[in-house]
């Protein structure tokens, strides 16, 4: 081991001394009380990615988002001059859920000229203004200009739509994202619009699944099948080339060998036949020059960069395509997992087959990660062990749990001060 140079301090972890090197606790992932604090301290304060601008193709395009952690539903809509706005999904008249289709607890999407409440027919325009009250003369001095939809702070970064449920966000979206994430300002996400979308309902705390995708130490053990058995090294480890932390956000880059340069026995027959597989299509269309921020460690040959945007979004950029994960807590020990892979729109059937292969392989190995969750959560909840040693390869796990606790403590501190 030791193929990639570490920072002068001797390790990635010690390069960020605030992280410490001791064992960590996972009580933040087993406690219902802690989850109640997380809801207020994190999910009602941080900027949350809810989608992409391509999901709102026209004026009047909308989708709803259930944010269970904040006990709320939000409707995101493209207004008349193309501005993306977000509103609480609540009719101002009697509190009915304004936008839903077959069942109120299910997300929906579509296109409309206005929103009409199912209950009494109140209408709102795309900017949230109340435009029609049935039998308005029956009401008592209702000033319709006072009864628009309650707005949710909403902003867009490089095509990613974020909302913030705080009354007044402490930071703008750009300030929140910081220089490491906005180093991807010029990455052409808008060219990668062919999507394969996935949803899972997992039986663990949201952070436990996020942890599985922010370290690669587990790969040789949990995913030995990623290489054919003939070339498997039972003692082989995995070392990441670069780690970086910026505020609450994290990054890991790995090196990668171009697939077509690898010996054929390192790939499965279906990968060779389709020229696609574990790391996606072997060759992808030219999508232009890559921003320096994509590979801030200057790793050569560069493989992937995995950006963990606090609290619950991951953007993993491969050569010419990316995937995105979101972890939405639904209780202290369950979460909804959303994922998609995004490619350049296929120009040929062959390219479409390459995308299908990549999307299929991704699910295979993600299922192995998800298969661990129930056991991990149950074992952690026994409380038998609460000191867990983390390696330097797991620095990002250490960082996520530290930031979560920091945010909760900051919230508690403010609350205590306010209570005095």
């Amino acid at each position: 081991m030791g193929h990639w140079p570490k920072p002068a301090e001797g390790s990635w972890t010690e390069h960020y001394p605030e992280l410490g090197t001791g064992p960590i606790s996972f009580r933040d992932s087993t406690s219902a009380e802690f989850y109640e604090l997380e809801r207020e301290a994190i999910f009602k304060r941080a900027w949350l990615n809810v989608g992409r601008v391509e999901e709102l193709p026209r004026v009047g395009s909308y989708f709803t988002k259930e944010i269970e952690a904040a006990r709320t539903s939000v409707v995101i809509v493209k207004g008349k001059v193309g501005v993306v706005r977000a509103f609480y999904n609540v009719c101002r008249h009697r509190g009915n859920k304004l936008v839903w289709n077959d069942f109120p607890n299910q997300e929906t999407r579509g296109n409309c000229r206005q929103f009409t409440c199912k209950y009494h027919g109140w209408r709102y325009d795309l900017e949230g203004a109340l435009t029609f009250v049935q039998q308005e003369s029956e009401f008592f001095d209702v000033d319709t200009s006072e009864y628009g939809l309650r707005p949710v702070h909403c902003d867009v970064w490089n095509g990613f739509i974020f909302i913030n449920l705080d009354r007044e966000p402490r930071q703008s979206l750009r300030e929140f994202l910081g220089p490491m994430i906005t180093g991807l300002d010029d990455y052409p996400f808008d060219k990668l619009t062919e999507r394969y979308d996935f949803v899972a309902h997992n039986n663990s705390n949201w952070k436990i699944f996020a942890d599985a995708f922010q370290e690669y130490y587990h790969v040789p053990s949990l995913h030995p099948q990623q290489v054919p058995s003939e070339v498997r090294d039972p003692n082989g480890g995995f070392e990441c080339a670069h780690f970086q932390i910026d505020g609450p956000h994290r990054l890991v880059s790995t090196a990668g060998t171009r697939r077509w340069l690898m010996a054929p026995e390192y790939m499965y027959p279906i990968e060779r036949a389709t020229r696609s597989g574990l790391v996606g299509p072997w060759r992808t269309p030219d999508i232009g020059e890559m921003p320096a921020g994509l590979n801030p460690g200057d790793i050569e040959p560069w493989g992937i960069s995995n950006f963990q945007i606090f609290p619950n979004t991951e953007i993993l950029v491969y050569g010419g395509w990316y995937l995105l994960y979101r972890y939405w807590p639904t209780s202290h020990n369950t979460h909804r997992f959303e994922a998609y892979t995004a490619f350049h729109p296929a120009r040929t059937v062959r390219e479409r087959v390459e995308h299908e292969v990549a999307a299929v392989v991704l699910k295979e190995f993600a299922l192995q990660d998800a298969g661990m969750l129930g056991g991990t959560q149950a074992a952690l909840e026994t409380g038998i062990v609460d000191e867990f040693p983390l390696s330097d390869q797991e620095i990002l796990v250490r960082h996520l749990h530290k930031v979560v606790v920091d945010w909760v403590q900051a919230y508690q501190h403010e609350h205590d001060m306010a209570g005095v």
Binding site: E194, R195, Y196, D197, F198, V199, A200, H201, N202, N203, L222, Q225, P228, Y268, P269, I270, A273, T274, F337, A339, Y340, A346, R347, T348, V349, R350, R352, V353, H355, E356, V357, A359, V360, V361, K363, E364, F365, A366, L367, Q368, A370, G371, M372, L373, G374, G375
Partner: protein, 111 residues
């Protein structure tokens, strides 16, 4: 004799077409989990040697204008990819150690 589903050049695979020409990943996944390894091995052994040829055949058409028999062949290719995960990689229908995990594909391009 039922009507042929596949292009005549791939007539030898007609026996698999009723089972494996499936348009969505959800159908292909469900069929995989409902199949025995012997059934999948048989399909794999019959189709894998010709899959590159099948891709080339479908590749002659534009994505938005694929004739029905070629579209069926494309769906058969997708099923081979699905079955290859079980046959080549895991040697069992489900990914090893995936336990009770379920991941559902809820959006995909057509075809």
């Amino acid at each position: 004799m039922p009507e042929a589903l596949l292009p005549s050049a791939f007539a030898e695979l007609e026996g698999f077409a009723q089972t494996w020409c499936l348009a969505t990943e959800t159908e292909r996944w469900d069929r995989r989990l409902a199949s025995s390894m012997a059934e999948m091995q048989q399909f794999y052994d019959a189709f894998f040697p010709r899959v590159e040829e099948a891709i080339d055949y479908c590749d002659k058409f534009p994505l938005d204008d694929i004739p029905e028999d070629a579209l069926n062949l494309l769906h058969l290719i997708y099923s081979l990819v699905m079955v290859a995960m079980a046959v080549e990689i895991f040697k069992q229908p489900k990914p090893t150690d995936s336990a009770d995990a379920v991941i559902t594909r809820v959006g995909e391009p057509v075809p």
